[in-house]
């Protein structure tokens, strides 16, 4: 019951954030964004034709009316049709979001798991050559740009100049085997890019926890290493880990897929966002921006609830 009340309270307190983000992005879109009017008109349009198109696009309405309309769209999840393709935005999202999740999910999970694993080695053997080698590689990995990694991996693993194991681009997935072959190179690229950051982050979290007094106490009472790791180190590191993992979910979905999907020609939500930015497709952009803001509020809520689950000192107040 407590948790339900808390959830409701948190959701309500997330409303200003959603309003703020949507208001600012909507302002930018309306006053500085692309204007579709002239794209839809022929050469030398009459004033009346212009007015008609503007009415059709809803551009003639006062800002506030348009903004409130936008909020209504967010609540009902009815965003109208895409300016460029005419497809219903809601069904467009329903089609592309699962692709993006399937695309970025494995890389995200693997990147974090491998990061924890490497960090554990580094932390356990800290200040020995094992640690130094891992951390030096992490820095090297971090300093290579995502684009270079993508292109290099495409050449190495997918092109006929390299191993040619996987398709270079596209997403024609009809079976699990297809899925694996299309997701392989993007996943490797994501893991490669995220691994350095993740390893450094997890190592610092783990080392900090490993040197705490309660870890020493546990060792003084003969707690074996596996239990020590789970009960003292991992459980106490959960707060920073949860924060990082949960908050990187919206980022990975949106920005991670933005680059990957455009470079691999994969029709996910990143690709349609990218296209919408290029073509000034306001209905799509409005939907993506609004939903991202909501996603952040939900991430915030999720972290708060998880905090409570892992740390008894935190209460849901």
């Amino acid at each position: 019951m407590e948790i339900l009340q808390y959830t409701v309270r948190k959701l309500i307190s997330g409303i200003p954030l959603v309003l703020g983000v949507t208001l600012i992005s909507f302002l930018l879109m309306v006053y500085f964004g692309p204007d579709k009017t002239y794209e839809l008109l022929g050469k030398n349009p009459t004033a009346q034709e212009i007015a008609e198109v503007r009415t059709q696009l809803g551009y003639d309405q006062p800002f506030l009316v348009r903004y409130v309309d936008y909020l209504r769209e967010l609540v009902t999840l009815e965003f109208g049709n895409s300016d460029s393709t005419g497809e219903d935005v809601a069904s467009l999202l329903a089609r592309t979001i699962p692709i993006s999740l399937a695309l970025t999910g494995p890389g995200f999970v693997l990147g974090n798991l491998l990061g924890v694993l490497l960090a554990l080695f580094a932390a356990f053997y800290r200040s020995t050559w094992v640690d130094k080698a891992i951390m030096a590689s992490a820095v090297v990995g971090m300093s290579i740009s995502f684009l270079i990694v993508i292109i290099a991996f495409q050449i190495i693993f997918a092109s006929s100049y390299g191993l040619g194991w996987f398709p270079v681009r596209g997403w024609s997935v009809h079976s699990f085997g297809d899925y694996l072959s299309y997701v392989a190179v993007p996943t490797m690229a994501m893991v490669f890019v995220a691994l350095g950051y993740n390893t450094r982050f997890y190592r610092s979290v783990l080392v900090e926890e490993m040197t705490r007094d309660h870890v020493r106490t546990a060792r003084a009472f003969g707690v074996p290493p596996a239990k020590l790791f789970y009960k003292n180190i991992l459980k106490n590191s959960m707060i920073p880990i949860i924060t990082r993992v949960v908050f990187s979910i919206p980022l990975v979905i949106i920005s991670g897929s933005l680059l990957i999907e455009s470079y691999f020609g994969i029709p996910g939500v990143g690709k349609i966002t990218y296209d919408a930015i290029i073509s000034g497709d306001q209905p799509v952009l409005k939907a993506v921006v609004g939903l991202t803001a909501i996603l952040f509020v939900l991430a915030q809520l999720l972290t708060d609830i998880l905090y409570r689950a892992v740390d008894p000192r935190i209460s849901l107040k």
Partner: protein
């Protein structure tokens, strides 16, 4: 170091080193002492003189990196602990030798209940079932004076005061009936009334459990009240090891004498800090070639500045001293 009985714990020439950015420091250098069954041995000395690292080394808990036991021997019940594999050391920790730490506020795991942490120890070392371990834990909590232990056991450390947490630590430390308890300033972080209660509890439990205690403290009053014998440490070394009456009546090492004489009437009172002796403790990174106390010692001469005094037996009663020119001490020594 009496010849008649085999000591429970025997530390010889212990060297503990830490690798720091500025070089290797010897936090303990040539530490030797014995602890006999059922005896309370005090270790006193200024902050940073190596008391905690000495205590930690007995349990093999020197944080590594940056520290390590660089030499010497620690024998417990005839068994060498230096170099013992961790898996064997784990069977000793918390069962044969327990330790209570200086910082009660942070010494317990914040995300598990007191009961969870206590029953873990009991189940591991005494092979109890969950139910039995819980009963035993409640019983131990009652023994250390925690009111309503059946309720407290399900609380998290942050719900308890510092004094209560330290009692929980004591209960945990004694729950497996150890032969040796290392208590590292168990009361320093507590207020005065709680200090007295906790100390009384340790003393009471010591006689009940028949264990030996190594009591590390700043407080000479506590040493006078609870210890049979005490070691005075200075800058990583033992300077004097003497039975309590002799140490307080007639300290022989100039440092020990300085400490004790500056509080002629306070012997039976509590002091949070050691008395101040003029001068500064040398940096462990830049130690003088001779006696480490020479710069502050009224008896220092050329020999002291050149040659470091070794810890040697003094008198027939197992006392030790490291000084070129010790004070004469008592003439007619009473049989200890």
């Amino acid at each position: 170091m009496q010849a008649d009985t085999q000591p429970l714990l025997s530390v010889r020439d212990l060297v503990i080193e830490f690798t720091t950015e500025n070089g290797v420091v010897r936090a303990a250098d040539g530490i030797s002492f014995d602890v006999h069954e059922n005896e309370t041995l005090g270790i006193v000395g200024e902050s940073g003189c190596g008391k905690t690292v000495t205590g930690l080394s007995i349990l093999g808990l020197i944080p590594s990196p940056p520290g390590r036991v660089a030499g010497g021997s620690i024998r417990f019940m005839g068994r060498e602990l230096v170099g013992l594999p961790d898996s064997e050391m784990r069977n000793i920790r918390g069962r044969d030798i327990s330790m209570i730490f200086q910082e009660p506020m942070t010494a317990l795991n914040p995300v598990f209940t007191v009961g969870n942490q206590m029953t873990d120890v009991l189940r591991r070392h005494r092979g109890l079932t969950r139910r039995q371990a819980r009963d035993a834990a409640i019983e131990m909590l009652a023994k250390v004076g925690i009111p309503v232990p059946a309720k407290r056991i399900d609380e998290y450390p942050h719900q308890l005061s510092g004094g209560m947490r330290q009692r929980v630590m004591i209960a945990m430390a004694l729950s497996c009936d150890p032969k040796l308890l290392i208590a590292d300033e168990p009361t320093t972080a507590l207020d005065v009334t709680t200090q007295a209660q906790v100390l009384e509890q340790i003393a009471g439990l010591q006689s009940e459990f028949k264990m030996a205690v190594v009591l590390i403290t700043h407080d000479l009053g506590i040493v006078a009240e609870t210890c049979r014998r005490a070691i005075v440490m200075y800058c990583g070394r033992i300077v004097e090891n003497a039975a309590i009456e002799r140490l307080f009546e007639a300290p022989r090492h100039p440092y020990a004498k300085g400490l004790l004489e500056s509080i002629p009437r306070l012997r039976r009172e509590r002091l949070d800090e050691l008395p101040i002796i003029p001068g500064r403790v040398p940096n462990l990174l830049h130690l003088p070639p001779g006696c480490r106390f020479a710069a502050r010692c009224p008896r220092a001469d050329a020999l002291c500045r050149e040659q470091s005094p070794a810890l040697v037996p003094a008198g027939p009663h197992g006392d030790f001293i490291a000084c070129h020119h010790p004070h004469p001490g008592q003439q007619a020594e009473p049989a200890a």
